[in-house]
Amino acid sequence: MNFLSRMSKKSPWLYRINAGSCNGCDVELATTACIPRYDVERLGCQYCGSPKHADIVLVTGPLTARVKDKVLRVYEEIPDPKVTVAIGVCPISGGVFRESYSIVGPIDRYLPVDVNVPGCPPRPQAIIEGIAKAIEIWAGRI
């Protein structure tokens, strides 16, 4: 690893995509960032508003038919190199919405998923571990 990639590893910016989630995982993501006990900023993370600033993308939700095109378009807007983390059981298998008429997931049919964090919703500790793993993968891609 050269100097730039060693430095970059310490600054992963996170972006959240809600692919039709019930909001449970989004609340856990907010908890992960915003309360003192699980502060992800200590890993150098920062939630950013624009997909163009992001390095690690956190996808929640089972990918409904309605949001599929929008999710794929937002995903395209994230500059390379990027890492995808599927948060919660929904993007992995569909969860309780599995085999519903309005679901086109699982998400790895459309996006390359690097880390799966199962749970309904996953605990903040699990999310932080998933982000830490994503940082390792991301460092290898710089």
Partner: protein, 323 residues
């Protein structure tokens, strides 16, 4: 011939290495790191490492730079460069008391005043050139708040220039070096009760110019997704971050020069200057940012047109009475 060459080279050195350019970038990013750390501690979080802004900028240098389809390519990519260049020159115009005296070739306080508004104009251009509706909203908000805070800061600058000029027997003194020299000989303006309205106005000006809560309205990340910066990525975004870091050094440094430049000679003066910057960053930026929420744009404009403007006029009147 050689004299002018030496002068050109020294001006270039001042703008690119010290105290503009590299030095100002380092100091600005370090101040930002401290600010983030103090902010996190005020929220009882651990917070990012002190060097986090350096990591962020280095990371952005490795990322791909995307240009939106409906953006104006030339303006979109020129804006970060122009912003950083103007701030590099502005930082070279700030004297560091006891160590650095800017060359007269840089111009005086009025040039610095104009340079200070360049990054805001560049941010507006960035917002409008990106072709994003959020960028457009950021553009109009930045313009509104800029019109509101430019008046008070001009009043402050004129007050200080008039007061120093009267003391030196000139109509007006626009040279920053002379303002520093006068205060080092006769005591800082910070301890002169007649100048307190001007000090207060300057303190109110800092958060609006640096885009800090409660006046981070143009770049509100939770409403307009960082406004003008929304479409930027990679190196261009890194340059914009560097611009804002240097801008914080320029704005805080100008405050120090106008009101409290006293410090020891030599390298120790640099340490004192950096410590003053740090104190202002912690008290005027981090604590304020942690304590208040964001204003609406109309509230912010009315606030600036009311209180800092009044204080600015009051300070000018007080200076005029004492002439």
């Amino acid at each position: 011939m050689t004299d002018s060459l030496v002068q050109t080279l020294s001006v270039l050195f001042a703008a690119v290495v010290f105290p503009g350019g590299i030095f100002a970038i380092t100091l600005g990013l370090a101040l930002k790191g401290f600010d983030r750390r103090v902010f996190a501690r005020l929220q009882r979080r651990v917070g990012a490492p002190l060097l986090q802004p350096f990591y962020d900028v280095l990371k952005l240098m490795t990322k791909r730079t995307l240009v939106p389809e409906n953006a104006n390519l030339v303006v979109f990519l020129m804006v970060p460069l122009l912003g950083l260049a103007s701030m590099g020159v502005a930082a070279a115009m700030i004297p560091i008391p006891g160590l650095y005296d800017p060359s007269p070739a840089f111009g005086d306080l009025l040039v610095l005043f104009y340079l200070l508004s360049v990054p805001a104009v560049m941010l507006m251009l960035a917002g409008s050139a990106s072709g994003s509706p959020f960028g457009g909203i950021g553009f109009s908000r930045e313009m509104a708040i800029m019109l509101a805070y430019e008046g008070p800061i001009l009043l402050v600058i004129v007050s200080v220039a008039l007061k120093t000029g009267a003391a030196l027997g000139q109509p007006i003194c626009l040279s920053l070096s002379e303002i520093v020299r006068y205060q080092q000989a006769h005591g800082a303006y910070l301890f002169d009760p007649w100048m307190w309205p001007a000090v207060l106005t300057y303190i109110a000006f800092i958060p609006a110019n640096l885009g800090i809560s409660p006046f981070d309205i143009p770049e509100a990340e939770s409403e307009v997704l960082e406004g003008p910066l929304i479409e930027y990525s990679g190196v261009a975004l890194g340059l914009l971050k560097l611009t804002s870091a240097v801008k914080s050094v320029v704005v805080i440094g100008l405050g120090i020069v106008l009101f409290f430049p006293n410090g020891p000679e030599g390298l120790f003066g640099l340490v004192v200057f950096a410590l003053k910057c740090l104190v202002i960053t912690v008290c005027g930026v981090s604590v304020l940012r942690a304590a208040v929420g964001r204003m609406r744009i109309d509230q912010a404009v009315i606030f600036y047109l009311k209180w800092p403007e009044l204080l600015g006029i009051a300070s000018l009147a007080l200076v005029a009475m004492n002439l």
